[in-house]
Each structure stands twice: as C-alpha cells, then as structure tokens.
C-alpha cells in the first residue's frame, strides 16, 4: 500500500476547473477554482498549480492525483480517473457523513444521487440530453440581471407573483427573461418563477429515488440561497450546503484515487 502524504483531486467541468489538495489524513489543505476559458488542459494545469501554491507544496510532493469531469482526460501527468457521480458521492459523504440524498445542480445537468453510509452510489437520476432545468439558467439570469448568483435568493423570497415561463429550453428562457425585464416585471418575480421551475424538476427526480432523511445540495446551484430555500420547501427537507459547493467532486476524486490505488495493490 502506498504511503500517502499529499494527494490532489481535480474536477474539470464544462465551465469551471477545480482542484483540492489533501494530506494523508484526508484533510483539505487548499483548493483552487478557475474558469475553463477554452482549454481544458490549460485550466487543469493552472488550477492545480494554484491549489499547490496555496498549500505551499510542489507537484512532486503529490503522491497521487485523482481526476473527474468532462475534461478529466486532459489532466497532465499520471492520474486516476473516476466518474463524476461517484466523486460527488464520496466528496459529499466526506463533508456530511449523514447525507443520503445529494442534489447536484451543475451547469449542464442536474443529478439526484442516493448515497450509502460509506459514500457509495446507491442510486442516481441524471437529467441529460437537453439542458432544460440545469444550473446554466442561473448563470444566464445572473448575467441578464447583472447580479451575483448568491444575491438571487434575497430577491426571490420577496416575490408575490412568480412568473410562469412558457419554455423549458435554457436558450429560449434567456430571451424570455430579457423581455420580462424590459417590460418591467419585478426581478424577484422572474427569479422566483425560475426557482420554482427548477425545484419542480428536481422534485420529480427525487421522487424516482425516493426521499431520505438527510439531504444535501452541491454544484454551482447550491450557491443560490433562494433556490436552496425553495427546494427545501418543495421537498420538505432541510438541505445541507457545503461551504464551497464547487469542490465536492474534486474532493471525491482525490479520495477515490486513493481507494482505487489501494484496491489495485
């Protein structure tokens, strides 16, 4: 069995690259988050360097590197790849051992994962093929309304008349939001309408895996407190939110790499 002093987990998503550095006792020492900006390889390299610098370590000190995400294969140097769902499960389990349902609202898709006590995937529902209902729309609305994603919540909760959108397509939604703004619809109503639409999608997904007592949320969408609140209301459970929702899969990637390495031995 490999003696591990330091390890890294890298998650190369479609929009963001994230890296975490952990020590042999699985403590997170540092992390980095960077936009992809057109190149997976470059972003992977940069984000790892950033995290290493923060931890005051050099690349050579890493004993093992785990990678996940769309661009995992573009990570330079030796690394062990794992599926994103598995990484999210391990990562969230590491942060919140009691969590049995993970809601992940990513940029391109949403997922609901059921996890075991040991952080393994017990079931999972993925919304793919069409980006309707993904976290992308939260980015779009932040851009259109020119507010930060974590400010959406404050506006949403004040809404009395949430907008009912006529489309689920994120692309068309953007236009619809823009025109609503132009017409003078209250920002809060627009955001609340959006939050409700996402929440009802997620609810349908949760129904498929059956709800459990402790639930958590991660991915970019977890940064939107308004969404989290509406989701809590819709599913009737409190949601645990990581301090930095972006890095949960990267943590999982580091943990899984070690796991896989040990079983290989």
């Amino acid at each position: 069995m490999l003696q591990i002093s330091f390890k890294a987990g890298i998650d190369i998503g479609s929009v963001m690259a994230k890296a975490v550095i952990m020590n042999g006792d699985d403590h997170v020492l540092s992390y980095g988050i960077r936009p992809i900006s057109g190149s997976f390889a470059r972003a992977a390299n940069n984000v790892l360097t950033e995290a290493l610098e923060k931890a005051g370590l050099s690349y050579d000190q890493l004993d093992i590197v785990g990678a996940t995400g769309l661009g995992a294969s573009f990570v330079n140097g030796p690394h062990i790849e794992s599926a994103n769902v598995t990484c999210q499960s391990r990562g969230m389990n590491y942060l919140f051992p009691s969590v049995r349902i993970i809601i992940e609202i990513g940029d391109q898709s949403s997922r609901v994962i059921k996890v075991t006590e040991s952080g393994k995937v017990a079931d999972c529902v993925i919304n793919d093929r069409c980006a309707a209902g993904s976290g992308r729309i939260l980015q779009i609305i932040s851009k259109v309304l020119q507010i930060n994603i974590n400010e959406l919540g404050g506006l949403s909760v004040k809404s009395t008349k949430p907008v009912r959108f006529s489309t689920a397509c994120s692309v068309f939604l953007e236009t619809e939001i823009i025109s609503r703004v132009a017409e003078g619809t209250k920002k809060g109503d627009i955001i609340a309408g959006l939050h409700q639409a996402i929440a009802s999608k997620i609810l349908a997904m949760i129904r498929k895996v059956k709800i459990e007592e402790t639930c958590g949320i991660t991915g970019g969408g977890a940064k939107d407190a308004g969404l989290v609140e509406i989701l809590q209301e819709t599913i009737g459970k409190e949601l645990l939110v990581p301090e930095e929702p972006f890095i949960t899969a990267a943590i999982g990637a580091a943990l899984l790499a070690t796991e896989k390495h040990n079983t290989l031995d």
Partner: protein, 450 residues
C-alpha cells in the same frame, strides 16, 4: 451521415452465435430469390409464430421489416431512410424501425419497385401483402397501414388479445381468448387462400410446427443453461441467436443449428467456462438494444466484469406447452393460438403473486432476476419505441421494491445513433458498479438467496 464514430459491433462469445448472421442473410436472399421466381413474398411483423408459420406453410417467403430496421441500423445506413420518412410527415417520435421501413418503401416505389442497388443487405423485394400484428404495440399495424401511400397491397392484421392479470384468471376468459384467436386464424387462412388462389397445405403446416417446437425446445434449454454461474453466454450472443428462433424456427436448418448452440453452451456450463472472463456482476438488460453500438457491452464486460446473463423477455421462446395440454389439441390453428397466447401470458401467475401488472414486459423479469441471480437492471429507454420503453420505470420500481435490485438507465435508440451517448453510459456504469455492491449487501442482510 459520414459518422466518425467507429462501427462497434460486438465480438460475441459463442462460436455458434457468430454464424447466426447467416440466417439473417438467408431471410433476405430467400425472399429475393422467391420474388425473382415470381413466388409470393410477405412483409411481416414479428408475430410470435402466429401467422407467419401459416403463411410459410402456404409457400410464402417472409421478410421482417423490424429486423431489417435493426440491420440498417447495425450497418449505420438507416439515416437516409429516417430522413425520407420524416420528410413525408411521419412524426419523428414514431418507431425507428417504422420510419426506416417507410423511407425504404418510398425509395422502392421511386425505383419502380426494383430494389435499389445500395439497399443494405441487398434489400427487401416488394410484397404481395403485409402481415401486421396487434401484439405489443399500435405501430405494428398502423405502420403497415400507412405504407398504402406507397404501394397498393393489402394489409392483414393478426388479432392478438392483451389480457390483464386479474382478467387472465377469470373463469372462461383464457378459453375465450384462444377461441377468438383461432377464429381469426381461420379468417386469415381464408384470406390467404383467396389471395393465392390455392388451398392451405395442412400437412405442410403440421410439419413446420413440429420443427418449430423442436427448435424452440432447444432454445428454451439454452435459456435454462444460462442460469449457470459463470454465465456461458451473454446478451450479445442472444441477439444473434434470436434470429433463427424468432424468425425461422420451422426451418430444419435452424433446428440443426440450435442443436449445435445447445452443445456449445452445455459444454461451457459443464466446464465452467464463462462468457466474460472474471464475471463479477450479473446483469439483465431490457428491452431492445442499441443495434448500432453493441460493442459497448463487450467493453462493460472487460472493464467491470459485467455479464449480461439474461435480457429482453419479448424475444425469448416461452416454456414448452405442457405435453398433456398439447396432446388434447388436434387443430393446428388452435395449437398455434394456444402457443402464442402462452408466450404472452405464461408469467401471469408471477404477476399475480406480486400483485402487479402487466404480465408482459415486467412480470418475466421478476422471475428472471431470481433464476439468473441478477445484480442489476440495465434499462435502455428508446427515444422512438414506446412498447419497449413504457414499462421500464415501472420495472425499475418493482425490482427495487420486491428484490432490492437497482437499475441503471441509459437512454438511446434502436436505430438512431445520434441519441446514444457512449461516454455517458460508461460514467453511469462506473457509478452503478458501486450501487450493485451496495444492494448485494442489502440483499444479503435481508435474506435473499443471491
């Protein structure tokens, strides 16, 4: 579409399975030869041996447009036909096989019913009539009816009653169902006799039935052998093997072939030779596979030690009719009707035991998972096939509720390669391995046998 994805057919694990493709070729060549010799050709739906055996006994050659759809997809030549059909206004939500066939028929018509040079597998010749079937889905008679737009040939629709579970056990109902089917088969025989201007050859029909039952007996035995651990054959073998037993079980060549299949599988079982090296997980597949990317199952086997020990109820032969029941039947049409009805309803007792519906497409799996010691279901919802898709969520719920067996859902299509995301399927499988581990533990705790 000049797709850059590599063509990914499966290597198949059985020697005999690799030969099965010849039967597919034989279907098409025999039909073309018949057409050239001026003998009648029929296009028929898979009908679980209800009407096609009768038509064959009358000397007709049969082509199966559903199978042809799978062939075009496997050769990755379906797209132009799909485009043709959509262009004619058929919604793109309808069956991929149907759109492939509608597009093909339009092309055939435009070529004055001379088979186009570039037709995959040599093509299907113009039929004398179309033999539709009411079993399994609406598309399988509506699609043939819609071909009237391209060729003026009659359609005959075989009645295939669809009984509910509770209703199956109502006194007299099974008998009424079979009587109805027999009446309809008689009407079908009259239709054929009128169309061909000759009498039914009953001796020929009986001889064909005899061969059919023998072939099916072997196919059934092969299914039983597949319960062995490690699995002697897997789903990719089955999808090749099914051509002889589904389309031409009455052909002596198929019988001879199936004897060899049986021998090969038996040998593997006796010597504990697994189809998948290091079989770690036994999965079941439902319902129709991605014909264009069957090789993906070889990859799952190699990467994760997954053996697809069983699959797709619809295409398996049923258990043989009990001899005493069979002996009481003297009318070959009644025998046929009883057998086909048996295929669709033999799992009604299982459904009743679990207080669930329907007995088709779901109940068989509730038995399979026990018999084949299954760890997980691979559900493949199809974008264009509702019958093979309708019950998947329901089946997923049932397997979890009754047996603590998890499912992985990978969307795709039988024909349309554009909707199958291969990389995503691997990611899902990787996560699913953990899920299967987890439920193995749970099943152990709850006292399940496997």
């Amino acid at each position: 579409m000049e797709d850059k994805k590599k063509k990914k057919s499966s290597a198949k694990t059985l020697q005999t399975a690799r030969e099965a493709g010849n039967f597919g070729k034989k279907i098409l060549t025999s039909a073309r030869e018949a057409a050239e010799a001026g003998r009648p050709v029929v296009w028929a739906m898979v009908d679980w041996w209800l009407g096609t055996t009768i038509a064959k006994a009358m000397g007709m050659e049969i082509c199966y447009p559903e199978n042809y759809g799978a062939l075009c997809a496997a050769m990755r030549k379906a797209e132009p036909y799909l485009d043709y059909a959509e262009g004619d206004g058929v919604p793109n939500t309808t069956c991929g096989y149907a759109r492939n066939c509608i597009g093909y028929t339009r092309k055939l018509k435009e070529n004055n019913f001379v088979i186009p040079e570039d037709a995959p597998g040599g093509g299907m010749p113009k039929p004398l009539f179309l033999l539709a079937c009411g079993a399994a889905c609406d598309a399988r008679y509506k699609w043939f009816q819609s071909l009237g737009r391209y060729m003026d040939v009659p359609v005959w629709t075989l009645e295939f009653p669809q009984t509910g579970v509770m209703e199956y056990f109502m006194p007299g109902n099974k008998k009424d169902n079979i009587t109805f089917m027999v009446q309809e088969l008689r009407a079908f025989v009259s239709f054929l006799e009128k169309l061909l201007g000759k009498k039914m050859n009953w001796d020929n029909l009986e001889a064909k039935l005899d061969t059919l039952f023998k072939t099916h007996r072997l196919a059934y035995e092969v299914d039983l052998l597949r319960k062995a651990v490690p699995s002697p054959a897997v789903n990719t073998d089955f999808w090749a093997l099914m051509i002889p037993h589904l389309y031409m079980p009455d052909d002596p060549e198929a019988l001879e072939y199936y004897q060899r299949v049986y021998d090969e599988v038996k040998y593997k079982v006796d010597n504990k030779i697994g189809a998948v090296p290091n079989e770690k997980y036994r999965m079941i597949f439902s319902e129709l596979p991605p014909w264009h990317t069957l090789g993906v199952f070889d990859e799952y086997a190699e990467k994760y030690g997954v053996a697809f020990a069983m699959e797709s109820w619809n295409y398996h032969v049923p258990s043989p009719l009990p001899e005493d029941e069979k002996e009481k039947i003297h009318d070959p049409l009644e025998l046929i009707a009883t057998y086909s009805y048996h295929k669709f309803n033999e799992y009604a007792p299982v459904a009743l035991e679990h207080r669930m519906e329907p007995s088709l497409f779901t109940a068989p799996y509730l038995k399979y998972v026990k018999d084949y010691r299954i760890d997980g279901l691979f559900a493949h919802p199809l974008i264009s096939c509702r019958p093979a898709t309708y019950t998947l969520m329901h089946l997923r719920n049932l397997l979890m509720e009754k047996f603590k067996i998890p499912s992985v859902i990978v969307e795709g299509d039988i024909v349309d390669i554009r909707v199958f995301n291969e990389e995503e399927s691997h990611a899902k499988m990787e996560a699913f391995i953990e899920t299967m581990d987890h439920y193995r533990e749970i099943r152990k705790k709850e006292g399940f046998e496997w």
